[in-house]
């Protein structure tokens, strides 16, 4: 078997965490298979950054080109497929990120190598690759085998693996490869980054958060949660569907495409706990979840759980808190 490729992901001068997570998992697989792990990195003036990767990999391939300054899946696809054709790795790992999902499926189809997306685990048994991935918003895990091929491509979920620097560092060799890009990429062009306008609330600064999800069902029900949050002295946050429906502004969104929070208390109300949301709140000190589905993934990340109708529990809880405040006053 040939080696393993890990595609380094970076944006605005920063190597992203998923890179180290994949390198850590990649090393584990490479050791088991007795093959070499190679980190590959594309960009403009990124050779210096390759040093950080060399601690995790025995070899770092760097391709520098002004056309690779910002991520462009068309450019990346050309460069990565030429490296894969040349080096023939058994496995290529790409992050299941905004960049990876743009690149990997098309790369796999063009090379005619099978792809498994959003993997949370992967194991080789002989030359056969088995992956674990989630379905139905994280409520079900699937073990799947990939059609046998000489080379496989996977996208790896963020935070599925914990990054751990090899001790001692591997100090891999950094090798510069010529860019195969001869012409400008014209079909697709990066224009700029945009940040949404700053909102009025900074949920990352709050000590207590009440996160509301799809279970609230209707904007008309929002005051029930707002009044509860007020009684508790907590700030209102939410999961993605609530922002998508326009019920709360995006500055209140917790999760991979929103904010990462770490309050002393996070009460998740009507949130099922898709991993994108969990990524943003799992490190809160105390997590209490209220959901009517006993198998909602959110309960696997919570300290306390209540399986019941939020429209019954929340008003009761608000009353109890107000009673207590009345006693104190």
């Amino acid at each position: 078997m040939a080696g393993i490729f890990v595609l380094a992901e970076h944006r605005q001068g920063q190597i992203r965490d998923i890179t180290y997570e994949m390198l850590t998992k990649g090393n584990e697989i490479a050791e088991k298979l007795n093959v070499e792990l190679t980190a590959v990195m594309f960009g403009k003036d990124v050779k210096e950054k390759g040093k950080a990767l060399s601690e995790y990999a025995k070899k770092v391939l760097v391709v520098e080109d002004a056309k690779l300054e910002n991520f462009n899946s068309e450019a990346y696809q050309k460069v990565l497929s030429s490296l894969i054709r040349e080096q023939k790795p058994t496995l290529t790992m790409v992050g299941h990120t905004s960049y990876g999902v743009e690149l990997a499926p098309r790369l796999a189809a063009s090379l005619n190598f099978p792809l498994a997306t959003d993997c949370i685990d992967l194991t080789f048994e002989g030359e056969n690759l088995t992956v674990t991935r989630q379905m139905y918003g994280g409520k079900v895990n699937a073990k799947a085998t990939i059609k046998k091929a000489e080379s496989y491509i996977v996208t790896v979920r963020q935070a599925a693996f914990t990054a751990k620097k090899p001790q001692p560092p591997l100090n891999g060799e950094i090798i510069e490869k010529p860019s195969p890009l001869t012409e400008e990429i014209t079909a697709k062009r990066f224009v700029e980054y945009v940040l949404p306008p700053p909102g009025g609330v900074d949920i990352t600064a709050a000590e207590k958060l009440v996160g509301v999800g799809r279970g609230i069902k209707d904007q008309a029900n929002m005051p029930i949660i707002e009044e509860f949050a007020n009684s508790l002295g907590a700030v209102l946050a939410c999961s993605r569907p609530v922002v998508d429906k326009g019920w709360l502004s995006s500055d209140r969104q917790v999760g991979s495409s929103g904010k990462t929070v770490k309050p002393k208390l996070y009460i998740a109300v009507g949130i099922s706990g898709a991993f994108q949301h969990v990524l943003g709140m799992k490190n809160s000190d105390l997590i209490i979840a209220i959901n009517k589905d006993p198998n909602a993934p959110i309960f696997n990340f919570s300290d306390y759980g209540v399986v019941d109708d939020l429209f019954k529990v929340i008003p009761a809880l608000k009353n109890k808190i107000n009673e207590l405040k009345g006693q104190k006053a």
């Binding site: 073990k143 569907p241 904010k259 300290d303 009761a316 809880l317």
Partner: protein, 290 residues
């Protein structure tokens, strides 16, 4: 170009002009939207069925995939603004018709359902091949898909289809601005950041939720949609072979489904809402949180 079109349109309305559907005259957009009929599982309790390879579907409500709902709405809005056609296409069993009817009621002009027992067990790659076999023969300026499906969440059909059609694509699209021969789209990156990308048309965009607010369907619309034809095609009509589709034509084969193991299970608080509320208050008090 617009001027000529308006003039001909007027002649047409007066019964004096029969439009020639020639490319030169076109200043409207033909849009294809790929949709999927999926079970709604966000708030349902799921069980694995006896085969261990799929979930128990009985009792689940099926509807248009959430991401596709936004893609459809975006297509209809573009049509309303610029004129043109919207064609909804799906790979699925006969019950997918209710999703296609919804598309028609919301403003799609045509609907195509690709149905064959041999399509069973297809992964995202095989689905992309099936869609490609039909879409390659249609005229389109824009193809819209959902970024992922709520059931298997492969996030691969759109980009693979774009590769097969040799057109550029963008995923996680949160905004589309159409220009002459090109579009500017906002892609959602992590942590609230977006990037603007300029892409040549025809192109495929895989839409992220929240790009718009999907409209409700009027009763009139649904009634009208019931009369519209849904074109049905099977494996033979797609020109593909059995080896291209289903499990044989897929990259991935599901061996086993299971409910994720629990790493840190919550301690469940039981009792009436009042009793549970009292318990929570005690916990918060003990931690100095109230």
């Amino acid at each position: 170009m617009f001027k000529i079109w308006e003039d001909k349109q007027k002649l047409y309305e007066n019964g004096l002009f029969i439009p020639l559907f020639n490319l030169e005259m076109r200043n409207t957009l033909d849009i294809i939207v790929c949709v999927k009929h999926v079970p709604e599982t966000a708030e349902a309790e799921l069980k694995i069925d006896a085969s261990g390879k799929t979930i128990e579907k009985a009792g689940l409500v099926f509807d248009i995939n959430e991401w596709d709902d936004y893609a459809l709405e975006e297509a209809v809005r573009i049509k309303e603004k610029l004129g043109g056609t919207v064609t909804a296409i799906t790979v699925g069993a006969e019950h997918s018709d209710s999703t296609l009817r919804k598309c028609l009621a919301r403003g799609a002009d045509k609907a195509i359902r690709l149905t064959d027992p041999k399509f069973e067990g297809s992964d995202g790659y095989a689905i992309a091949k099936i869609l490609h076999s039909v879409i390659k023969n249609l005229h389109y300026d824009l193809i819209l898909t959902g970024f992922q499906a709520g059931d298997d969440s492969y996030s691969m059909v759109g980009p693979i289809l774009a590769e097969m059609l040799r057109i550029p694509h963008a995923t996680l699209v949160k905004k589309i601005e159409l220009g002459v021969g090109t579009a500017r789209v906002n892609r959602e990156l992590e942590g609230g950041l977006e990037e603007v990308v300029e892409i040549k048309l025809p192109a495929l965009f895989a839409v992220q939720t929240g790009i718009n607010e999907p409209r409700y369907v009027s009763i009139m619309g649904i009634r009208k949609a019931m009369q519209k034809e849904i074109k049905v095609m099977n494996l033979a009509e797609t020109g593909l072979s059995e080896a291209d589709v289903g499990e044989a034509g897929s990259w991935l084969k599901i061996e086993k489904l299971y409910i994720p193991p629990v790493e840190k299970q919550a301690e469940f608080l039981k009792g009436s809402p009042d009793e549970v509320a009292a318990k929570i208050v005690e916990i918060l008090k003990s931690r100095g949180l109230i």
